[in-house]
């Protein structure tokens, strides 16, 4: 480890694969005036920490999943309950993510392009899901739509199931993932202002044409970035979904809930097999996110400054 670090230190320009941030750290003179020694120590500490707390556990997930061979792994994923959990997770994400794209676009559009009273309050409200514990988010829906809840009797009378059913899971997922798309877009759209839209309008474009020909191309990478994060959270959410799902096997179990059930039943290999899918999702998200950041950093909020 220390050898590698020393190499980075002396020949920063030649390490083509070194992540950009590292190259910057070493090529610039340190802010505080300390030499590269401090930088090496900081990078070292960070790396050790990341290895111990992130890379190692992730490796264990895959190791445990394949501990009894690929056949057992495949069997665990192919079990009816596992398949239904995977299917439910995909369904929930397929509903929640598009809805959050619409909500996020509308919220960001309103905040960035219009002046109105209560704007900062709306921004705070959008951030609410980040500050509220997911369990509370789940409980909110139980209190609203549960059997003893505010709308419970009415829903029961009309034979509508929300809590302990798919609609409840979708609602809880939307709640916890709401800020992802909106936040990415608000920052970028505020940066961009309304200039391009005004040009398009003055050139005779309708509102719809302006959105699809000007606004959307301007925000598409940030939108994709937000969707990516939103999707990862939608598929991985545990707390809020756990409260409203009811843990009915084969019906209302999402992948994270299914992992917990398997684990509690000491079905370790199966638990890790399903968990490995979630971990894979995280890795794919991470790679896609990194690609977006390096390739289109100018089109993402807060990453274009300093140019």
């Amino acid at each position: 480890m220390s050898e590698t670090l020393a190499e980075w230190e002396t020949r920063p320009a030649k390490i083509a694969w070194a992540p950009k941030t590292f190259a910057i750290t070493f090529s610039k003179s340190p802010v505080a005036g300390e030499g590269p020694v401090l930088a090496s120590i900081l990078v070292g500490v960070t790396l050790v920490f990341l290895l111990l707390f992130l890379v190692l556990p992730l490796a264990v997930v895959f190791y445990e999943a394949f501990a009894n061979g690929f056949a057992v792994y495949w069997e665990a994923l192919n079990a009816p309950d596992a398949r239904s959990a995977i299917w439910l997770t995909l369904t929930v994400a397929a509903i929640a993510v598009p809805l959050n794209i619409v909500f996020g676009l509308a919220a960001a559009w309103a905040i960035a392009k219009f002046r109105f009273a209560g704007k900062s309050f709306l921004i705070t409200l959008i951030d609410l899901p980040f500050s509220v514990s997911p369990v509370v988010a789940g409980l909110i829906y139980v209190l609203l739509f549960g059997a003893q809840g505010l709308f419970g009797p009415w829903l029961k009378a009309h034979d509508i199931e929300i809590i302990f059913a798919v609609p409840g899971i979708v609602l809880a997922t939307i709640f916890v993932t709401f800020p992802f798309v909106a936040r990415e877009l608000i920052a970028l759209m505020e940066d961009q202002g309304t200039g391009d839209e005004e040009v398009a309008l003055s050139l005779g474009a309708s509102g719809v044409a302006t959105f699809f020909r000007v606004t959307l191309p301007n925000i598409k990478w940030a939108l994709l970035y937000g969707v990516l994060l939103c999707n990862a959270r939608a598929m991985g959410e545990f707390g809020a979904v756990s409260v409203v799902s009811g843990h009915i096997r084969g019906l209302t179990n999402t992948m994270p809930l299914h992992v917990e059930i398997l684990y509690n039943e000491y079905n370790i290999t199966a638990a890790f097999a399903v968990a490995s899918l979630l971990a894979l999702l995280a890795l794919v998200t991470l790679v896609a996110k990194t690609l977006l950041e390096t390739r289109f950093k100018d089109a993402l909020p807060g990453k274009s400054r300093g140019h």
């Binding site: 200039g195 391009d196 005004e198 040009v199 398009a200 309008l201 003055s202 050139l203 005779g204 474009a205 309708s206 044409a209 020909r213 000007v214 191309p217 301007n218």
Partner: protein, 357 residues
């Protein structure tokens, strides 16, 4: 197409604070090139945006020819608007940017593809960027971007051209080049054009007429000559060109600095205090001149080809600056007789001016 703004009133804050525009009226004749000139916050950009339909006034009307356009949207008004920061669409090529206004038309009015392309290339020629149609805005210089923005605004055959600080973001040399270029384009296309600027040189050099705005109202509209030689208000005199303001007394139709009388013809017997504006080039040093005022030089600076002296006029009238050839050797502390060739006098509390000749 004649463009008229009639009694425009606009208040952004909604409170009783000073409105952005306070009853502004402006006529832009067909084919005319008019500059809206004023300091920042004078309301010039707001007026331009209201004419374009990007903002709507609280009161007042906008006419295109005889048609009342006050209720029309920006799309319906069909004006070409050029923004200060160019606002080119980054994801489109130069040709696609120029063609945008034609591409977004509905099926009935949209020209065929080949025609749109022909028109875009034609406009590219007009703005002298032939061959750059495949470039992206990021690959152009600031001056080139502004040309593309103008070509884009012209593509839809607008009824008028509105430019908001068109050269504001460019460096001085490019600004000067683009100025004569814009004048040329205007001569060739003949569009009714209004542009906003805070640069008086730009306004005086380019425009057929200049409207000087201050605090949401128009101080004066006139040709560059009228604006420069016969400023209607103290503000215009102070804002346009260099001038010094002297405190003078009007006694029975004659101007006095202390006990020194200045010749001021054609003024009825009024009395009061006021300000006399004089430009540096209208002050001469009159050696042995009986009509001259004895004044003291307090500072001397070299200003390009000339030498500029700051001179204190007696009787607490104020200070003036005069230009003299570099060869003249002024010394601070020296007392010299000076004479005013021309000046404009404003009686306090009155807008109307009298000229001193």
């Amino acid at each position: 197409m004649q463009i008229r703004a009639v009694d425009i009133f606009k208040n952004f804050t909604g409170s009783s604070a000073r409105p952005a525009l306070d009853g502004v009226s402006l006529d832009v004749g067909s084919g005319e090139l008019v500059a809206l000139l004023g300091p920042s916050g004078s309301g010039k950009t707001t007026l331009l945006r209201i004419i374009a339909g990007l903002d709507f006034p609280d009161r007042g009307s906008v006419y295109f020819g005889d048609e009342d356009a006050s209720k029309k949207t920006v799309q319906e008004r069909r004006v070409g608007f050029v923004f200060q920061n160019y606002a080119l669409f980054k994801h489109l090529t130069v040709a696609e940017n120029i063609a945008f206004g034609l591409e977004v038309r509905d099926r009935q009015t949209r020209p065929p593809k080949a025609e749109i392309r022909r028109r875009a290339l034609e406009l590219l020629d007009l703005v002298q960027l032939t061959g750059l149609e495949k470039r992206r805005p990021a690959q152009l210089s600031g001056g080139q971007r502004q040309r593309v923005a103008l070509a884009r605004a012209l593509a839809g055959e607008p009824r008028g051209l509105l430019l908001d600080e068109p050269f504001g973001a460019l460096d001085a040399k490019v600004r000067r080049d683009l100025r004569s270029w814009l004048r040329e384009i205007h001569l060739r296309t003949g569009h009714t054009t209004t542009f906003v600027t805070h640069d008086q040189d730009e306004a005086l050099e380019l425009a057929d007429r200049v409207a000087v705005l201050n605090h949401g109202h128009i101080e004066q509209v006139g040709s560059p000559d009228e604006i420069y030689d016969h400023p209607a208000t103290p503000f215009v005199h102070g804002f346009i060109g260099e001038a010094s303001a002297l405190t003078v007394d009007l006694r029975a139709g004659n101007l006095f600095i202390g006990n020194h009388q200045l010749p001021l013809p054609g003024r009825s017997g009024r009395t009061g205090r006021g300000r006399l504006f004089v430009r540096p080039q209208d002050i001469v040093i009159g050696e042995g001149d009986a009509n001259g005022i004895e004044a003291e030089i307090v500072a001397v600076r070299r200003a390009g080809a000339t030498r500029r002296a700051e001179i204190v006029i007696p009787a607490d009238a104020g200070r003036v600056e005069i230009d003299a050839p570099a060869a003249v050797n002024f010394r601070p502390g020296e007392r010299i007789p000076i004479r005013f060739l021309r000046g404009t006098f404003f009686l306090d509390g009155e807008g109307a001016a009298s000229s001193l000749c």
